[in-house]
Symmetry: C2
Subunit: 168 residues, 2 copies
Amino acid sequence: MKNSTMNTRETVFSAPTRRSEAHHKQLSVRTWLRLYACSNLIEQQIQQKLRAQYGTTLARFDFLAQLVREPLGMKMNVLSKKLMVSGGNITGLTDQLVKEELVVRQDDPLDRRSYLLICTEKGHQEFSEMAKSHERWVSELLGELDVTEIEQLYSCLDHLKNRLSTHS
Amino acid sequence: MKNSTMNTRETVFSAPTRRSEAHHKQLSVRTWLRLYACSNLIEQQIQQKLRAQYGTTLARFDFLAQLVREPLGMKMNVLSKKLMVSGGNITGLTDQLVKEELVVRQDDPLDRRSYLLICTEKGHQEFSEMAKSHERWVSELLGELDVTEIEQLYSCLDHLKNRLSTHS
């Protein structure tokens, strides 16, 4: 009799929980697939436009985007973390950008074993022009959403990013 | 006099438009940066887990995810479009998966110059196990958002994806 009561209670209490867990899982996967698809679609468009108009890549654009904000320079490991790519990739990109005089390596006055990456005047100029186009392209791509929709999307993503950063 | 009136009207009507355009641009870029960051953070976590637990990649997982839904098989160009990667990458992946007996190539009965990719029974089994883990990981990553927040995010992204697909 006790067993039978417990089974009934289990059925009453855990079926909705299981259902809502299953719903959360399915909804999460569908949301992730949309997020991934949107990100890839926009990334591809930006990549194409950067290549066609400036003969450059999104990786180089992102690299400069980080450096232009730091007039005193940035350590390579900090940049690597911000760009979420491996040190190896950063080294290759740095070599290219130094060669093109968009970036310089300078000794770090606070750490003799390390150096800082600094965006040159030429780098600032090239980035500034690309950034204006980038802003226009992104605005066009998101252009069919109105400001309220974009604000809502931004708010959800900002919240998610904070949670993900804590998680990882 | 006429000119001066026109200038005044222009000032009255276009300043808010320019401000709202500038706001749309800035908001779009901030939203895109959040979207890109969230997508990269989740992708990295999933990649790490797929590698650690199944010794596989997200590209292989996505490849099988498309094929398991099509019991009659899928043409390579259709698969390539769905995965948004180049034909070259698909060919390499196909060769690997055929070698591991997860996928087979079969003549297309409707097009003698073409063939279909079909997921094998072994492919279905391997995918099914990975898909359960994938669902759990994604649900955990999005787990600190409640169902209402995820539903809102899904709805915004679904809308955006439809617009982007039309755009491209």
